[in-house]
Amino acid sequence: MASLRRFFLRLLSVIRPGRSEPDLAREIAAHLTLLQDELERRGMTPDEARLAARRAFGGIEQAKERHRDARSFVWLDDARRDLKYALRLLRRSPVFTFTAATSLATGIGASITVFTAVNTLLLRTAPGVADADQLVDINRTTGEIGVQPILYSQYLEIRERATRLQHVYAYGLNLTPMSLTVETGQSGAEPVFASVVTTNYFAALGVGPAVGRVFAERDAESVVVLSHRFWTRRFNADPAVVGTALRLTDRLFTVVGVARKEFHGNTVLAPDVWVPFDQSRPLDIGLVGARLRPGVSMAEASAEIEMIGKTLTGDPAPPGFGDPEARRRHMGLSVSRSSPIPTGVRILVGGFLALLTAIVTLVLVIACTNVAGVLLARAAARRREVAVRLAMGVGRARLVRQLLTETILLFLMGGAAGLVLSRVMSALVLRMLPAFPLPADVSLTQDARVVAFALGVSFVAAVLSGLAPALHASNTDVGSILKAHEHGPASRLRLLHAFVVSEVALSVLLVVVGGLLARALGRAGSVDQGFDPRGVDVASLDLSLAGYTTANGTAFMRGLATRVRQLPDVESAALAFATPSAGLMGFMLTVPGAADAQGAPLQAVGNIVSPGYLPAMRIPIVAGRDFSDADSPTAEPVAILGEGAVRRFWPGISNADALGRTIAVQPFLIDTSTRRRPTGAAARVVGVASDLVRVRMGDSPRPFVYLPLYQRYIPTIKLLARSGSGRRIAGDLRALVKTMEPKLPILSAMALEDEGGPVVTQLRIAAAIAGSLGIVGFLLAAIGIYGVTAYMVARRTREIGIRVALGAGPADIVRMVLGEGMRLVAIGSAIGLVLATGAGRLLVGLLYGVPPIDPITFAASILLFAGVGLAACYVPVRRAVRVDPMGALRCE
């Protein structure tokens, strides 16, 4: 109690020193007087008595100091004084403060934005779940990138055998599109995206209802839980919807409740509704999660799950594919913390975020270097002040601490502004994301971890960039400075040069990377990617939602294609499983007589397309023919290969000679209507098409194959239509589908240029961030160049004066100053270009065929920085030319 009271009084004394100090002085004076009185009474003279009293008392200043020590927290007191002093200094040079704080805010803000994304996607569990640290994902490990599904039978086995886990649940990775038909009214079918889950899903995640209830373990199959968002959007948050029936696709479901508002699902995909798993809704890619039993550690759970994985019943192997050893490898299981991004693709997300982290770190380093440079120059101006203080006996550590306080204050201001700025940046990045074909939850929230990160980054950056200038400033030879007026040692100038060179180098790197990404983006949105996306609208359909099957689906597709081609402004139209830019299908190909495989299946990618798809996408057919309406299920199976596939299978054979050869093709995909993989079938090559750039990229381009849609029915298709007039026709497509088949919802509709797929989205975000931060980077570099040149001119005013006095003309002076400034720019640019060469190689997978050492980007960057350098030197050069030789010599 007493010690607590004392603690607060000491703190109070730091904040409000108040009357304690004068009171103490008065008390000591009184003490001395009393002592002196006493001594005088004993017969001393007043002078003797005063001296004796002083002796008896001891050091007055020391006593005061000890009193202060006991009274308050001295270090805190010092810090408070430093802070006050720092604030005064920063207020005195508002331009410096503003520039420094703004550039730091940009750098720190960008770092925070990227960290927020890392935090949301990789570090946190999806929002709205209870006791998140006990939630785990159970993953199949194959050593390859991608999500490996767990079969339902395997899920049941894991659930049965795992003793260290409880609430083992399963869910579909993808959202299942369903059509919601409203019995009354003419609105037609609307798409609803469902997450198919086991009935213990909500209990396992600890998610309760907002209204009604969530699934119970023994729930019947025809129940549905709505997401809060869908409930609000579609039913105006009407509680009366609970208990009513919804017709989803072909069945009636009873609404039992609405999930809690904060919960959007356990992955980044945010379903509209959750429906229980049953035989008619297979988990085509089933994922499994669970909760640790109390007291069980991650490692213990891991060990058990790995054991189970080794002895789990395997997949029914597709006939003729894969050896048993490879299949066993596929069955490894592992446990990881529950994450909104499935473990298998974390590396992809992580890789992209690592790229962004690298970009924002560059800007932060540039901003820090810039501030460090300016602080160093300011330290030069404060040398006298520092020397005086050193002479007065201030400790060096104390001085460094004081100089650092100023820097840290600056950085914390920058950090606070950065935290605010990053909210704006997050919003901008989110706006850049394309319209997702599936509903997703990508809100970026700043939680305590993000704020802690902001504080940490600001503090570390401040110490790193403030330490060198502070040490430099405090490392002052007192005598020489107080005596002579001189402009600081050469080592300081060298340090300043190093700062500017690295700033220029990093800015060049940033600008080149931004330029490369922008060029790649330009190429991705144009014909340069092997097809022409301009003016094409895409609508996604799932014919099974309207009850079509293999028997009648093809006929509907043919009719649809014909009707679309008759729409006004439609130049060409086709149907396909995927667009050229996203969602291609994986195939296994067996090629008799192929060069690099003795009859073993090869991995390939491809698409299932209607006749007219290749011309409509403007993908050239280099040999043979397009598919035709005659390629029906009863006719001979045919295929079209990409050029790369021909070269790979049969090296040295011309495209024309590949025609007529036979391959066996088996899609990876499981047919949702039969729940089985379609069997492999032989097909004759009837055509060879030019490859897509995306497929050509990388070390070993994957073979590409097209199969005829009318021969191999698949219910999930894209309707692609090219407008001849530039008018968007997505609305016409919607209207047409609705009149042809009211029960068939359009799942999504967008321009093909906007679709782009994940690669283009990543490219767009990275290019925007690198580009905008590149501008910040080179502005900062310009400030740095200006600063060092101006400092150099100020330092050499006398020398310039002598030169002018000795007959140097303005041209000589310009050459001297400009030479100095531009030398730094040249060195920095050279280093930057070398770094950019390396960075370009790392980025090659994102560049859409733009060469990593792209002459246009590199040349443009060099020109840009030469211009920036010249502009930054302009003012110092002018100042140097105007040096008055007499004045310069006299002032020394």
Binding site: A2, D37, G59, R66, A70
Partner: protein, 115 residues
């Protein structure tokens, strides 16, 4: 900075606090000089500690709420800050005294048995 030195100061401070409290409890309100005089009187070697050393102890005790200082006039009409022990101070003195006794007897016993 040796820890041994810090410990010795710590011990001295604790002792000093106890002595100050005791002096104020038995002799009534005193100013710092009178306290110092009293201390010198009790100690075997006068002037073993500077009188300035008292001040940290006084501020500590005052902040803990165990003593309270007020400005008054001395009999010779000089200004002086008189410190008086408070009720919590009396209770603390009691606690500290018994603790000190226990500690002292423990140390005594140890020293005897070791010898």
């Amino acid at each position: 900075m040796s820890s041994a030195r810090r410990e010795s100061i710590e011990l001295l401070q604790g002792t000093l606090d106890l002595i100050v409290l005791r002096a104020l409890a038995t002799m009534g309100p005193l100013h710092a000089y009178a306290l110092a005089a009293r201390l010198e009187q009790v100690a075997e070697h006068p002037l073993t500690l500077n009188q300035g050393t008292l001040y940290p102890a006084l501020v500590r005790l005052e902040q803990q709420g165990w003593i309270k200082g007020t400005w008054k006039k001395t009999e010779h009409n000089r200004d002086a800050k008189y410190y008086a022990i408070t009720k919590p101070g009396l209770r603390a003195l009691e606690r500290q005294t018994s603790r000190w006794r226990r500690l002292a007897s423990l140390v005594d016993k140890l020293l005897l048995s070791e010898g």
